[in-house]
Structures are given as structure tokens and as C-alpha cells.
Amino acid sequence: MSAVLEVTDIKKNFGGISAVGGVSFDVREGEILGLIGPNGCGKSTLFNCILGQLTPSGGEVKLDGKIVTGLRPAELNKLGVSRTFQLLQVFPKLSVRENLILAGQEHQGSMASRLVGRSDAGLTGAANQMIGFFKLDHLADEPAGGLSYGQQKLLDAAMAFMGGPRLVLLDEPAGGVNPSMLTDLKERLVAINREKNATFVVIEHNMEFVMSLCSRVMVMAEGKVLAMGRPDEVRKNPAVIEAYLGH
């Protein structure tokens, strides 16, 4: 399988502190790669460097073999790279459906066509489908800010899928989501991964969730890659156990 994303020696310094100290890995087409590590090990910073939200201090990011380092987040998104956020980032005053239409509208036509075209950019159908898929039907017309935390997390994930992305980076999708909803979320992710052939990278602290969802897991500690491999291999790796449990 070919690599969708190739990351080579990405570094990020904040002043004198190195948050990410030379990380290299690749993500294969259609896989779900888990990214774990103790708090503050540089996972989210790495995401932000890949996605153009931060400018890396060094290194290179390739998407489908083409260098995309330094592209702006909106440009990357149009190339099919989407993301969810660790903290809630929905648009609270817009309804659930409007949030989803917004998430998809920039992916079709030109800016001028969106001014003269239909108010919903022809996306009401696609938004309703996504609402049904994530079982948010009864909340479609509610302002997103009125939803429970877990429901907003689901909406956040649904928004990331509206543009039909090839690669989705999910930052702690399970954080704060209750166990019954978690099973739902996992099912949805697996279904999108299989049906739409979307590739995922998932940051997560919930070990059970990561280990059962991902085909490979990368472990980071102190800004570097500590281990990479199948979930069962990683779980037995002595260096990983030490990083998590300490001495």
C-alpha cells in the first residue's frame, strides 16, 4: 500500500524548548494509525505542524508524494486533509445542520458561485445523511451550543467528514464521551474508514479505544517517536511501559 502522508524529521521549537524533536513516520492508504503518549509529549503540536496551523522549525510533510509543508490550513483542507480538535470547536450559534453545511460548502464550486448559488450550497441532503449516520436526527435544528459535550464531539467528527476527505487527523475524539456513545463513535469511524476508504490518524488516551480501532500505533515521548507497530507489539514494548509507568 502506498503512503498517503509522509512526515520526515519534523521539528518544532518554542523559544528554547523543543516540543517536537525530529519525528518521521508515514501513514498508509486506508489505515487507522493511532498516536499515543503521555501528556505534553508533542502529539498535538505534531498535528498542528502537519496541518499548517503551526510552521515547523524543520522537516518536511508530503501528501501523496507532493511536498505540502507550509501550506495554509484552508489549502490543505481543500487537498482532502481534514481534522477534529481536542477541545470543542463547533459553531455554537449555528444549528447542527448549518454546522455541517458550513463544513462542506467550500469544497464545491468557486467563491463567486457560492455568492449567487443556493443558500445551502446544495448540501442539505448530504448534511442530513451525515446527521443520520451519526444519529443526531432529533437535534438537527438545535443550535450546536445547546448539545451535550459528547454530542458536540460527534458533530465535530461529522464536520470533519463533510468535505469527503482522504485523510483525517482526529485529536482525542473519545475524550469526555460516555462509554455507550463511544461504541457508537468507534463503529462510525470504522464504517467511514471502510466504505469511503478514508485514512485516519487518531490521537487518543483511551487505550482500549486505540488498541481496538487502530491497525498500527505510534508512541511518542518527549517529542520523539518511542515505538511504532501493531497494537499488541506496542503494548509489550518495555520502553513504552516505562514511559507510561515511570520507574
Binding site: P73, A74, S82, V90, L94, L102, Q105, L115, G117, S119
Partner: protein
Amino acid sequence: MSGFAKPLKIALGLAVIAALIVVPMNFNRYGLFILSQWAVMAIAAMGLNLTLGYAGQVSLAQGAFVGIGAYAAAIMTTHGWPLPAAIVVAIALSFAVGWVLGYPALRVQHHYLAFVTLAFSTLAFLVFRNESWLTGGIYGISNIPRPHIFGIATNKPLPFYYVCLGSLAIVSLAVWWLIRSPWGRAFMALRENPLRAQSLGIDTRRYTLMAFAIGSALGGVAGALYAPLTQYIDPVPFNLSLSLDLLMMVIVGGAGFFLGPFLGAMIAVLLPEWLRFTEGYYLMLYAIAVMGLLIWSPTGILGILDRYLAERRTKAASALRAVAKSRLETVQ
């Protein structure tokens, strides 16, 4: 606003429009002047509401764009050009200048952006005052003609009021279309969460510039109507206090509400007239009323209505839930 039935809203809207057409027929010259001024200021405030209320970009320069539009119209119409041509030039000019003024907004936000636009406002005022070869300097430009529309002279106050009201109607429809389009949604995304907007492919740079340019262009339209309304312009009406007045109209009416600027302009233009009987005290009363309103409802007058309707909806929804729950319990 879904608390009101749709037919009721339409009927109310039609009644207001009919009143705006019919009632002023008996007004005297001064009353018509004030009402025309309301229509012109509502257009300018609608522009600022787009930039500030919808797209969340602070601007203290809207008055300067009214000035740019007014001078463009005054200079062109006194040189024999028809007003519609002058309006087109006013729109193009303030759109272009507004676009350029949008660039600082890509780097700074909130009160820093306010200062940048404030500096621009001062700069524009100095150009109006000092470049006398073009603007007539402190003596201004007088004898600005009023247009002939479809062969009808609008010299008299009533026909010109209808020119202002018609322009307001056209601008309102255009703005209504804009905020309901995907652009309006993108503007709101810019206001609520630019970081998330970027990650959804929204070109925040281009939308920010557009928000400034379109909002400023409406300021230009207002100015191009203001010049033939007063028939004489000098730099003083376009100084910083006009920008602050327009900002207050948007905030008091309700920033980010479609009808906010209409209400805000009404209060700013008409209330001082109604309070005239209090003689020396009217500005004080006016200031106290505005302070009181903003303490009570920081989201303006329409914010009060919006909160009331939201509360009613929540109550209705929880009542429905309670009914459903009790039914469920009786079944068990």
C-alpha cells in the same frame, strides 16, 4: 426568531413598508429630511453590521467611507454626471479602499484593529479638508444637484425621500441575499471561530477582505445619497464622530441581526428629535438611555427579543419533554 408565525411576520413587514411609503406624504420639509437621513444612515449601518456584526471585524472607519461616497457623488454630479453613475463610482472606490483597509485585519484584531481603522478615519478627514483642489477644503462643495429618476425631478423633499427609501430597499434585499448565502455562513464562521473555519477549507483571508470591502461599499452608497440629500457637504460631518455614531447604531440595534441597523439608525436619528422638547437635556437623556440599554442587554434591542424567544422555545421544548415522559410513565 422562529417563535413568530411566518405569515404574521410577513404581514408586519408589509405594514411597515406601506407606512414608510404612505405616512410621510403629509410630512413637512424637515420631517422628510430626518426620515431620508434615517434611510441613508441605515444603509451605512447595514454595511458596518456586515463587517462587524456578521464577520466580527471591528471598524471605526465607516464614517470615512460615507465621506468618500459623498465626495465622489458631489464632485461628479456638480460636473454634470448623473447620480447613478456617481453611485457606481462611489461603490467601486469604497470597495477598493475597504479591501485595502482589510489587510491590517489579517494581522491584528479587536481593539488593535479599532485603532488602525481609527487612524484611517483621521487620514480620510485630513484628505477631505486639505486637498482643496479636489474637495473644496473647509468651504466644501455646494449646489449639489438632485437627480432625475426616469425623467422625474427629485428636487422636492418627498420625491427625494422616495429615492432614499428605494435605495434602502435595494440594499436591504442585496444584504438579505448575501447573509443567507454560503458567504453569510462563512462570515459568521469568521466571527465565531476562525481557527475551526480554516480547518474546514474556509479561506479566512479572502472572506475577511470581502467583509471589509462590501461593508465599506455600502458606506459609499450611503454617502452618495447623503450628498444630494444635504446638497452641500464639507469635511465636518465625516469626522470620527460619524464612525462612532454608526458603530453605536449597530451595537444598540443589535449587531449580527438583520434588522439591527434599521432600529439603531432610527434611535440615533429620530430619538434626538423626539427628545427635543426636553431642550438642553436631550443629549443627556439619550446617553443615559443608551447606557441603560447596554447594561441590560449588551446584544442590543434585538438581543432582548432574541433572548425572549429563545426562552419561550426552551420552555415549550421542556414542556413537550415532560408530557412525553409522563406518557411513558403511565404506559409502564
